[in-house]
């Protein structure tokens, strides 16, 4: 190995929307090693949630991510409702799914635009973001906000979608579908894009299992996982749709999965709207008097993959423990596999290909001794503890398998 140069991507870099630091160790143009540092954006959301009431937490977790701002309330609602065994009205289920899918449409369009920008293809960037604009307007019409919709609440949703809004939404979606055709044509058939993206940042199905990646990143490598189908929530078991998977695992495959998922999302929304029409007027919110003591687990398929929320209640009015895992946390670890061995140009697009959302990922753990108030465990010790626990779990499960 020759002399290595460190090429920094970050903490402030046009490639990144958020502060984040990648050190690319380069030999010429080839990336031979990489490290990444997070921690610029830690906000202590989990801790904040413990000081809020169950109702208020929705508006805190909504602000974890500006782009997939409904997936966190979605997972949180699933978690809290699983504690109280709340049965939500059908109408609320449908509206939840509509909002979730509409978010996927705008998020995927946003990604296509960003990917174009990272490739220097600013025309795709501008076009995709222009086509995304009516979707955001639609959000404003339905929920009152272009982002951070404040739509969910325990036991249902806060606003109804009436006939008028539904017909507007159908019109917008028809338009988005036409524009998606256009984008698919521009991306899928462009020989220069093929040359630039095919075989770049390839992740095999084994890599996905090793690193535990989720969402479109996994589906682009042929791993057929999707929370919406595997553990249906809201209205996803009431409509017909299919999980898009592609085998190749490179950046092009990830683009393909996202573009094709746009069609699925549009079809889900249309079906939900039809069901909503049949449902007639009705309740959009179940009455929930209190959340009993217990633990609840909720997950939802965000545009980037599975969002996981763990909520523990002691019967009071606020969670005593709230644990959040955003999809980027799983996907970012794949960078070492997808970037090393490629060039700097490939590393740029390979890191962008998982649609990372770094501020969702920021974590911080400190352990203090209860009596003396001093920090007791270092990061290495905590990691060791976690590894020991994993080993024990593995032993337990393998013992179960044998019996």
């Amino acid at each position: 190995m020759g002399k290595k140069t460190i090429v920094p991507i970050g903490p402030y870099h046009p490639l990144l929307e958020e502060p984040e630091f990648f050190k690319l160790y380069c030999d010429g143009e080839t990336v031979v090693d990489m490290e990444w540092e997070t921690g610029y954006n830690h906000r202590g959301i989990e801790k904040i949630c413990e000081s809020k009431t169950f109702e208020q937490v929705f508006y805190v977790v909504e602000r974890i991510c500006g782009i997939c701002s409904t997936s966190h309330p979605f997972a949180y609602a699933n978690a809290v409702e699983s504690i109280g065994a709340v049965e939500i009205p059908v109408r609320a289920k449908l509206i939840r799914s509509i909002i979730g899918e509409l978010e996927r449409v705008h998020s995927h369009l946003l990604w296509v635009g960003l990917a174009g920008h990272f490739l220097g293809y600013n025309t795709v960037f501008m076009w995709a973001w222009k086509y995304r604009e009516p979707v955001l307007d639609m959000f404003e019409i339905i929920t009152g906000n272009r982002n951070s919709y404040a739509m969910f609440t325990i036991g249902g949703v806060r606003r109804d979608i009436d006939e008028n809004k539904a017909s507007q939404l159908i019109k917008v979606l028809e338009d988005v579908k036409i524009k998606t055709d256009l984008l698919v044509g521009a991306v899928m058939d462009d020989p220069v894009i093929h040359a630039r993206l095919k075989g770049v940042g390839t992740l095999t199905a084994k890599d996905i299992h090793d690193f535990g990646a989720v969402g479109p990143t996994a589906r682009a490598s042929g791993v057929d996982i999707d929370v919406r189908r595997d553990d249906p929530y809201a209205a996803y078991d009431m409509v017909n749709w299919k999980v898009i998977t592609v085998k190749e695992g490179d950046v092009f495959a990830k683009a393909e999965v996202r573009l094709l998922e746009l069609y699925e999302s549009i079809s889900i929304i249309n079906q939900c709207l039809q069901l909503l029409k049949k449902e007639k007027e009705g309740d959009i919110k179940a009455k929930v008097r209190e959340i009993p003591a217990g633990i609840g687990i909720g997950h939802a398929e965000a545009p980037r993959g599975e969002v996981f929320h763990f909520v523990k209640s002691d019967g009071g009015n606020s969670p005593v423990r709230h644990k959040i895992r955003a999809p980027s946390y799983n996907c970012i670890t794949t960078f070492r596999r997808s970037c090393i061995g490629g060039t700097i140009s490939d590393a740029a697009i390979a890191t962008a290909a998982v649609d990372p959302c770094y501020c969702c990922t920021e974590r911080m753990i400190q352990v203090y001794d209860h009596n003396s108030g001093k920090r007791t465990m270092s990061a290495a010790e905590l990691i060791k503890l976690s590894q020991q626990k994993t080993e024990e779990l593995n032993k337990q499960f393998s013992a179960k398998d044998r019996s």
């Binding site: 010429g28 220097g120 040359a195 060039t343």
Partner: protein, 309 residues
Amino acid sequence: MGIEIFYFLIFPGLLFSGIMGGFISWVDRKITARVQFRQGPPLLQPLYDFVKLFAKETIIPSNGSITTFILAPLFALFGATISAVFILLPVLGVETGFTAGIIVILYLLNIPAISYIIGALASGNPLAAVGASREMKLILSYELPLILVLISVIIKSGMAIRFSDIVTYQLTHGAFIGSLSGIMGFVTILMCIQAKMGLVPFDMAEGEGEICDGIIIEFSGSILAIFKLTKYIMFLALPAFVSGLFFGGLSLSGINILWSILKVFAVVLLITLIRNTNPRVRIEQAMKFFWLWMNLIAVICVILAVLGI
């Protein structure tokens, strides 16, 4: 001596080509904006950019070589201006005592790119170093096809090595774009210009999303403004060079002025459309593209020129 200084500073040198080049870069930005459903900048935006940069603080990297770092943009500007003078005088048909051979122009056009590399390496920034190495590779890639195309043009114009002779030859024998080898040469040189200007798909030396503007990352304030001016001048010089080589030159007299503007803008429009309908390629893909495909076309072009097609 006086007239030479006039040529260099006023017309068609620094002042004229700076203003015209700024205007052309505005056209480029405006077309780009319209393609991307944007409003686009106002007409004087290039001037605003230039003046504003001059008023800004100039930051010199402490671990770089200061003299080289500051001199690099000046060299780039001199190279671009002299090449603009040598290109525009014959192209516009101004009768002067001195004209340059095509080889001189070829070398002068390389000075800005080489200055970029020197400036980048003098800044001591790793991203600039990556950009500089890419720019170097790019020069090595596009230089050969460019030379081959120029050879084909020289052959077609009856072995005239002087640029002014090539232009005047076309006035009597018709523009070279009318022949098959002319069209092929035009396509090749268009790609070379794209690379020379550092525009998408060959902007990997700047690579905004990868290496944060690479070669010019450390430049700021007035020295960046000088690089901008260099770019403006190249925006006029290169399309004018192409129109001299293939369209039979430009003219500023009477109705011909519209025809001249059309020629330059046709080239600019093509450059702009190429840059807006392609993503950035990797450096090795660019090298392969030039060494394999562009060289192939250029060689065929030379053969056709020898055969007189």
